[in-house]
């Protein structure tokens, strides 16, 4: 691991067939970092759902568009103490995401769809979205354990 904390960088295309490849790589990475099996499954689910949103909504289901994913081991502060976390940043050049449309729906309303963002929020300790220089950037944080981190760490 370098001084930047960079663990892994992936450049993939907006192809649904690639999702299983990313899942397997990420599962191995999370396990290597010491996350529990349940935490590994949570991280994999969140990233898979985020990539699905990029493919379906950012790129309108079109294949062949670029998605950049970086995985870093970062320091976070919690309760005045230092801890470590996995930071995942996904970037795409798709259309601006309307977060209100992706914010999910009441779970009592049993119908297909609208669960992806709910899964991401439930699985990760922190979720940040921003639009920067015409690109969508989603930052996801997963602590090894413990309470939610102070973002911006």
């Amino acid at each position: 691991m370098g001084r930047s904390g960079l663990l892994l960088k992936l450049e993939l295309q907006s192809n649904p067939e690639m999702l299983c490849v990313v899942r397997h790589a990420l599962a191995q990475l999370a396990e290597t970092l010491g996350f529990s099996r349940a935490e590994c499954r949570a991280v994999v689910l969140a990233v898979d759902e985020a990539l699905t949103n990029i493919i379906r909504h950012g790129y309108g289901g079109e294949e062949g568009h670029p998605i950049h994913a970086s995985f870093r081991w970062i320091a976070v502060r919690r309760d005045g103490k230092h801890g470590r976390a996995l930071e995942i940043v996904l970037e795409d050049s798709g259309k601006k995401i309307d977060c209100a449309k992706l914010c999910g729906r009441p779970l009592e309303d049993v119908r297909p769809g609208g669960l992806g963002m709910h899964f991401i929020n439930e699985c990760m300790d922190a979720v940040e979205f921003r639009r920067k220089l015409g690109r969508n950037q989603l930052r996801l944080i997963k602590l090894l354990d413990g309470p939610k981190p102070e973002m911006g760490a």
């Binding site: 649904p16 067939e17 999702l19 299983c20 899942r23 099996r37 349940a38 499954r41 949570a42 994999v44 689910l45 898979d48 759902e49 699905t52 493919i55 379906r56 779970l107 009592e108 049993v110 119908r111 297909p112 769809g113 669960l115 992806g116 709910h118 899964f119 439930e122 699985c123």
Partner: protein
């Protein structure tokens, strides 16, 4: 993902293997809707023992199948949930909505 069908009297059992995600869930959806809506099979059972992973698009396919089954007076039953599948249904608060059993013997029993 692979799906194979077994037909027993008025029941279809789908054995699903592999990952159910954005790439593969349309196939599961198509199979479910064909049995429930087109073939009007009164009971469709999904064997999920060999499903390693399911995402929200897979859950959406199950929910759509459930809605069609209710509309047509049929039953959609699940069994053999792996931890991954159980977790996404739990996160979706759908564990109590579906009829779920541990194994095939229980799922087939009336």
């Amino acid at each position: 993902m692979q799906i194979s069908a077994r037909r027993l009297d008025k029941t279809t059992i789908f054995d699903v293997t592999g990952d159910v995600d954005l790439a593969t869930s349309p196939e599961l959806r198509k199979a479910l809707l064909h049995e429930l809506r087109d073939a009007r099979i009164p009971r469709v059972i999904l064997n999920l023992k060999a499903v390693r992973y399911m995402d929200s698009s897979g859950v959406a396919s199950l929910v759509e199948g459930l809605k069609v089954s209710r509309d047509s007076g049929a039953k959609l039953i699940l069994y053999g949930l792996t931890p991954s599948v159980r977790e996404v249904l739990q996160l979706s608060k759908l564990l109590k909505i579906f009829e779920i059993y541990e194994n095939e013997e229980q799922a087939i029993s009336p």
